[in-house]
Symmetry: C2
Subunit: 226 residues, 2 copies
């Protein structure tokens, strides 16, 4: 069976930096499912009228949206390692998903908005700049310029994750779960587009990030960086 | 077997407002376990050298700390309804616990700091005022005076919970879990000490709060208010 993942790419087709697509790539690796990734750029067509990536084509099935894909994989591959550790794990992961989307991502976007722009394919840069500058209410340059202050805010916002990782090795408990991949996606996004280091070396979050980069044959650690 | 919960009380011994104790009371009710609550006030002695409530005495066992109590109940009463919905649910609930303690509680404290003070037993008021004013860096009166602005911040901070509750009835999924009780504890704290309304009527969080108040024979809804 052919399994294909449409994956956001930069000017360099090997540069795959979408935090949502990283959630899915790590979820597929967690399940031990091989996948062929297809570089996709903003505004290109996608199967089944999807508008955003990730989109997973699994045989005849097309699934869009990273959360829906994770639920699909958990349901359709129940004999593979669990992504959620049960129904409660799935329900509670949704909170971590929402926290990452609504709290963590906006701060990461601020840290590396200009770096993201600079690694995009030329035909995407105008769209990205226009849509993000409208959303942020300022230029990408001005937005990223304030990143030393945003960095302190980002580190403070990580307090709940840090508190958990001081007590257990993974957000998933004794082993990584999809919740780890959700939060990690934000760091991988940043790491792929930028050389900016958001974490202090002695932050437990930093150690956890390194351990996720080593999972699944070093999948995330080996990613192409801008 | 005698089961006793040491529960923070106000000047009125029937006024039980600790968010951490409410987590435990709802967890006990969820498990269908009867308990006798004992009113406790700051600085009074507790069993086994515990310094903070809740403390649960379950036969010969003494367990302090709301998270530890929840884990104890889940482990020792496995045939009762699950608090976490599996190992993944327990691991992920820890994130929701940390988020509530570190993000939500400080904002609720700001909304009702003076109201809390005013309902405490006279012998606790000086301690509370002194320790909180040192922590907040201002008087309780000044702190609470800015609460209309803090309210907007509190509502914005609820975005992850709101996003989840727009998609599923409970943080626990199709039924309430300990994660629901963790977050609800913050609202119950506020509701017991104050008449200040933190939520807009059309907020999905408001509807969820009402449904938790109705659970377990209306346990939380029937609580004494200041």
């Amino acid at each position: 069976m052919t399994r294909t993942l449409y994956d956001l790419a930069g000017a360099d087709p090997a540069l795959r930096f979408s935090p949502f697509c990283w959630r899915t790539r790590l979820a597929l690796a967690h399940k031990g499912l091989a996948v062929e990734t297809v570089p996709w750029r903003f505004e290109e067509p996608l199967p089944d009228g999807c508008r955003t990536v990730p989109v997973l084509q699994d045989g005849a099935q097309v699934i869009g949206d990273s959360w829906s894909i994770a639920c699909y994989l958990e349901e359709h591959y129940p004999d593979r390692p669990s992504l959620f550790g049960g129904a409660g794990g799935q329900a509670h992961a949704r909170f971590i998903n929402a926290w990452t989307d609504r709290v963590l991502h906006p701060v990461v976007a601020r840290l590396v908005a200009l770096d993201i722009h600079d690694c995009l394919a030329p035909q995407n840069q105008a769209y990205f700049r226009e849509s993000r500058e409208r959303r942020f209410g300022t230029t990408l340059e001005a937005f990223q310029e304030g990143r030393e202050m945003a960095l302190l805010e980002a580190r403070a916002l990580l307090a709940p994750a840090r508190a958990v990782l001081e007590r257990q090795a993974w957000l998933g408990g004794t082993g990584p779960s999809y919740a780890d991949y959700i939060v990690f996606g934000a760091f991988q996004w940043l790491r792929c587009v930028s050389r900016f280091e958001p974490l202090a070396a002695d932050d437990p979050v930093s150690d956890w990030r390194r351990r996720i980069m080593e999972l699944h044959g070093g999948l995330a650690g080996a990613a192409t960086r801008a």
